[in-house]
């Protein structure tokens, strides 16, 4: 059964909404700078962390809810509202709508601030803190604000969470549990503790580009130095492709692969990545030769990029155009998979590929990288990778509208 995407909502360093996203992806302005939010201060004497912070989400919640809604939750409401309205979900029976929020430990920064602020006066901790830092508070706020009554839950798969949310939403529609399922890649609100740990681990970019944040994020480039964090959030509305009644269709998810590769920590596995891609292709009924575009996981970590290139070689993707959305937005972690699938769908809609920022010296020049400017290209079948710490490998085959029906 082919699944169609009929609504998109997105927030990123480019701003709130698809208009800012659709324009910014192709213009690729620099959105990187030193992180300034409370709770993201570097260790004493060290250079500030580099990344992307989104503008304040539009005020959609009633004030009494907004004041106890985390940044993650406010961003989720913003993207849900956009996707909901575009897909016309007010016409769908609430019991037939589901919501899957991708991500875990999402509100670490605000929870760290609460620990700091109440450390000497624990007796006065606001009762609301008993639920507002749960990842599922996003589910609660979303279902309290929009008539979603099928089910709502969160799923965790580290940096593949957004992709896994999409895969789980596909399953919920295919099984008949609901008619419409919203997959939401939640904003991962990193604390200074998280940032420092990931820098110490060698996954996040070091202080090498501390003086020039615009140059720090360079997936698949010889001067890459680790991933660079970028706040983001996206919601996608999924339904059966054969049940779409008129409205907008961005594209179809033709196949998905999601495997465990047996790693505990951040170490990637090309074998797992290849297996996920082959599962996705098999489900789509396609071969590698049918893939014309690859949207990489491509974080910019030295080991991650090398391993992913090995995957491209093993699969034989030398013919495909390749770009890395993280070069523009940074790494949204839990949100990345959903935001980058949205980027693929917007590229399908616009008939062009977004540039790769900072790809001055490709690690492997034999691949068909998109350059520093957008290029006209009608995507028919795209392969989208998302990987996560803990050995999570996922791949999605995304087709232009109608491709699923023509295949069968």
């Amino acid at each position: 059964m082919t699944i169609a995407v009929i609504g998109i909502g997105v927030a990123s360093g480019l701003g709130h909404g698809k208009e800012a996203f659709g324009q910014g992806l192709f213009e690729a302005p620099n959105v990187f700078s030193h992180l300034k939010r409370d709770g993201r201060e570097p260790p004493g004497g060290e250079a500030p962390f580099i990344g992307v912070e989104i503008p304040e989400p539009p005020a959609l919640l009633p004030p009494r809810m907004a004041r106890t809604a985390s940044l993650c939750s406010r961003a989720a409401i913003s993207v849900l509202d956009e996707a909901w309205n575009e897909a016309g979900l007010e016409r769908v029976e609430p019991e037939r709508i589901g919501l899957i929020v991708g991500g875990s430990n999402l509100m670490a920064r605000e929870q760290a601030i609460a620990l700091r602020d109440y450390s000497g006066r624990l007796a006065y901790v606001p009762p609301r803190h008993g639920h507002m830092f749960l990842d599922t508070d996003i589910c609660g706020l979303c279902t309290a604000t929009y008539p979603i009554r099928g089910f709502a839950c969160s799923v965790g798969a580290a940096s593949a969470s957004g992709s896994v949310a999409i895969i789980q939403a596909m399953e919920a529609v295919r099984s008949g549990r609901v008619d419409v399922c919203i997959a939401l890649g939640a904003l991962q609100d990193l604390s200074a503790h998280d940032l420092q740990a990931m820098r110490a681990m060698g996954a996040m970019g070091s202080t090498r580009f501390a003086g020039s944040p615009a140059d720090a994020c360079r997936p698949m480039d010889a001067d890459h130095d680790g991933f660079i964090y970028g706040e983001a959030c996206a919601a996608l509305v999924l339904c059966r492709a054969d049940s779409v009644a008129g409205g907008k269709v961005y594209g179809e998810i033709l196949g998905a692969g999601h495997v465990a590769d047996g790693s505990r920590g951040p170490e990637p596995s090309s074998a797992g990545q290849v297996r996920a891609a082959n599962l996705a292709l098999a489900e789509a009924g396609l071969s590698v030769a049918d893939i014309d575009t690859v949207n990489g996981h491509a974080t910019g970590t030295p080991t991650g990029d090398d391993t992913e290139l090995e995957t491209y070689r093993t699969l034989g993707l030398e013919h495909a155009r390749i770009n890395a959305t993280k070069s523009i937005l940074g790494h949204g972690l839990s949100a990345a998979g959903a935001v980058e699938v949205a980027a693929v769908l917007i590229q399908i809609e616009q008939g062009r590929l977004h540039p790769n920022r900072n790809l001055a010296t490709p690690l492997d020049p034999r691949f068909n990288w998109v350059g520093a400017t957008p290029e006209a290209h009608a995507i028919r079948h795209a392969l989208k990778f998302s990987f996560g710490f803990g050995g999570v490998d996922t791949a999605l085959v995304i087709g232009a509208p109608g491709t699923g029906r023509r295949q069968r």
């Binding site: 009633p62 009494r64 004041r67």
Partner: protein
């Protein structure tokens, strides 16, 4: 310290917690539940008021008051004791 002072603290906390009540007059004879303040919000308001008064009283000892004035009177008694 008197009951009116405590009523003022409670009302300020109510307005902070439920901004939707801006413009609505609130007095000591009003009950928070009747104003539409939910139970978690009520606990939050009482805790915030206690912190300002330097009180640490288990919430279970604060059941009973039927309106803001009675709550203020009870907090005043506890702070005196």
């Amino acid at each position: 310290m008197n009951s009116e002072h405590i009523v003022g603290i409670i009302i300020a906390e109510i307005r902070e917690t439920v901004p939707e009540l801006a413009g609505q007059p609130i007095g000591r004879d009003d009950s928070m539940a009747d104003l539409g303040v939910d139970s978690i919000e009520r606990s939050e308001i009482i805790l915030a008021a206690m912190e300002q008064l330097g009180l640490k009283i288990p919430m279970v000892q604060l059941h009973g008051p039927r309106n803001i004035g009675e709550l203020a009177d009870l907090l005043l008694t506890k702070s005196a004791g």
